[in-house]
């Protein structure tokens, strides 16, 4: 794996996120930016996929259960060659566009329509069950928010994944500590996360969700998991990469205005240049 390339791609993913949300005039930058490194690792390092053949048999699948952060996934997919980046950044959330406000299964490579929190994780479990039935080697990666863990459905899905020994299912929790109304700890406590999954019959590990080597190691280990599903608790910063969005609940679901957009792009372009 090429750490420098991955870190650079992650910045490009962030640039795509900001471009698209600014153009759209609405969207969710905070949770998209916090999951940008994880998503980059999945699409450029870990997953067995073919953008030219999105329906390839035996492929790995990534499901953004925290669907509001879909722009992170779409940006990574565009850069990986699934569709032109300009079509995504230019038409996201526009009428008649295939790039909807939340992930849409009609786009080749998007495996599940999401947006209602919790449901993507359930469907991911079903896909893992199907792969077991078919002896399909593909792994299912589900990206969840920490606020999303408050949904009861998440724990129904977690229980059944352990019961059916879905060691081909990997949950990645984007643990940025924030949701819409503020800190998880103020709205509805979700900690401890790893221990909860463990008590539901999962293996878990905690990593720095912005450290590409740690992400690579954890995802590689998770792919080798035997007998139990694996949960990766990725400690992240909401808004990561755009200084004024970092750790601000207010940037959950708001587009930058022109001035903020220019500042964000300046920061990201500088970060990209520094990685050359």
């Amino acid at each position: 794996m090429d750490i420098n390339m991955l870190n650079k791609k992650a910045v490009e993913v962030r640039i795509g996120i900001i471009e698209a949300i600014h153009n759209a005039g609405s969207g969710h930058p905070g949770g998209s930016l916090s999951s940008a490194d994880i998503t980059t690792a999945l699409y450029f390092d870990i997953m067995n996929i073919d953008p030219k053949n999105p329906g390839m048999k035996g492929r790995d699948k990534c499901i953004f259960s925290k669907g509001h952060a879909g722009p992170a996934q779409l940006a990574a997919m565009a850069l990986r060659g699934y569709f032109p980046i300009g079509e995504f950044t230019g038409t996201l959330r526009r009428i008649d566009s295939r790039f909807q406000g939340h992930p849409n299964i009609k786009i080749p490579g998007i495996e599940m329509s999401t947006g209602s929190l919790g449901q993507g994780f359930s469907a991911a479990g079903g896909m893992a069950m199907a792969n077991k039935l078919d002896n399909d080697p593909g792994k299912i990666f589900a990206v969840l928010g920490d606020g999303e863990l408050q949904e009861g459905l998440v724990w129904e899905a977690a229980m059944s994944a352990a019961h059916y020994k879905l060691d081909n299912l990997i949950a990645i929790v984007d643990h940025n500590g924030l949701q819409i109304d503020g800190r998880n700890d103020d709205v509805m406590t979700v900690n401890p996360i790893g221990e909860k999954f463990e008590s539901f019959g999962w293996n878990y590990t905690v990593i720095d969700g912005h450290d590409m080597i740690a992400i690579h190691d954890a995802l590689t280990m998770a792919k080798e998991s035997k007998g139990k599903p694996m949960c990766i608790v990725a400690e992240t910063i909401k808004g990561k990469g755009v200084s004024f969005m970092e750790n601000q609940a207010g940037w959950h679901g708001k587009a930058p205005d022109d001035e903020q957009y220019a500042r964000a792009m300046a920061e990201l372009n500088a970060a990209k240049a520094a990685l050359k």
Binding site: A24, G25, S26, G27, G67, L92, R93, R94, I95, D96, S97, F99, Q100, G101, H102, N104, S113, T114, G115, S116, L117, G147, E148, Q150, E151, G152, Q179, I180, D181, V187, M188, V190
Partner: protein
């Protein structure tokens, strides 16, 4: 009719006003308090506000428990997570028990806009209408929202209160009488009746103005209380004008149109045309563009009225 205010904004303000006099009122939300505007109540009465996190089903289950223990509860989230996601809990724990819970659901309909089909709800009125004992209310503007919320909090029993995201014209004045369960006659007319609910009332009012200039005399009725529906005003309209066009920001299946049609078919059969979401999902876009694309504007009401009058 100059100002534009979202009905959710009026809802937030009304909760605070009601909370001042009614210490029994408890408000709940599911991590959307800034959007549903329950944050205003939370700020004023923190001890009577519960943020239940992103766990709508538990919120409605707990709301039932609070209500059965004597509280009057307004529990808010987006319509898709209230009526649709939590349906069975609302049906059994709130409907079947008759619990005094007001399901105050915001962001209903196509005007949710950019978030797209996963969030745009066209099924909520239909679902809620099927629950025995559930009162279903869809106010048309900020004034009606405030007046009706006061009445549903005073009324005993479950209620679904539908409010929207987008700023809409303030249609009514303070002096307008708006009574729960009673259709509001906005304009007399003899050729045809438009029966509208929610934000479509304003679209219908604009349509009626245009149609009058074409020589079509239009009666206009706001049915804010869809269940129990004011059948008297509907039957009278059917008998006296002989044709009805309904307009709602909801599926034409199971909503206002069906409720009106049931009354008409049983009592005074006449042609009924329905303006609303035509059995399809929505998509991302600007609310006004989506209203056009999915045929929920004054233009569409005008078209429907012209057709029904021509064919009669």
């Amino acid at each position: 009719m100059a100002d534009k205010i979202a009905t959710r904004q009026a809802y937030g303000e009304a909760l605070v006003e009601i909370g001042k006099n009614n210490s029994n009122l408890v408000v709940m939300d599911a991590d959307l308090s800034g959007s549903t505007k329950t944050s205003m109540f939370a700020k004023e009465f923190p001890e009577r506000f519960f943020n239940m996190g992103i766990a709508e089903q538990n919120m409605y289950g707990a709301a039932a428990g609070l209500a059965i223990s004597g509280k009057v509860v307004c529990a808010s989230t987006f319509a898709i997570f209230a009526a649709c996601k939590s349906f069975e809990i609302i049906r059994n724990s709130i409907g079947y028990t008759g619990a005094n819970v007001k399901i105050c659901a915001s962001h209903a309909g196509i005007t949710v806009g950019e978030d797209g089909a996963s969030h745009q709800t066209f099924e909520d009125i239909a679902l809620m209408r099927t629950i025995p004992g559930m009162t279903v209310v869809n106010p048309s503007d900020a004034t009606a929202t405030k007046k009706l919320l006061k009445q549903i909090v005073e009324m005993e029993g479950p209620c679904y209160f539908r409010i929207g995201r987008a700023a809409v014209p303030v249609f009514y004045s303070e002096d307008d009488e708006i009574t729960l369960g009673k259709g509001k006659l906005i304009k007399e007319g003899s050729d045809v009746t438009i029966i509208a609910t929610g934000i479509m009332v304003n679209e219908a009012y604009e349509a009626a103005g245009v149609l009058e200039t074409e020589g079509i005399s239009v009666r206009l009725i706001d049915i804010h209380t869809i269940k129990p529906i004011d059948s008297g005003i509907v039957i009278k309209a059917a008998r006296e004008t002989g044709a009805i066009v309904t307009a709602e920001e909801h599926s034409v299946i199971g909503g206002l149109g069906d409720a009106v049609a049931q009354v008409v078919v049983k009592n005074a059969p006449c042609p009924v045309a329905m303006v609303g979401q035509q059995d399809t999902f929505g998509e991302s876009g600007k609310p006004d563009d989506l209203k056009k694309k999915y045929h929920m504007t004054s233009e569409d009401i005008i078209e429907a009225v012209r057709n029904i009058v021509r064919e009669r």
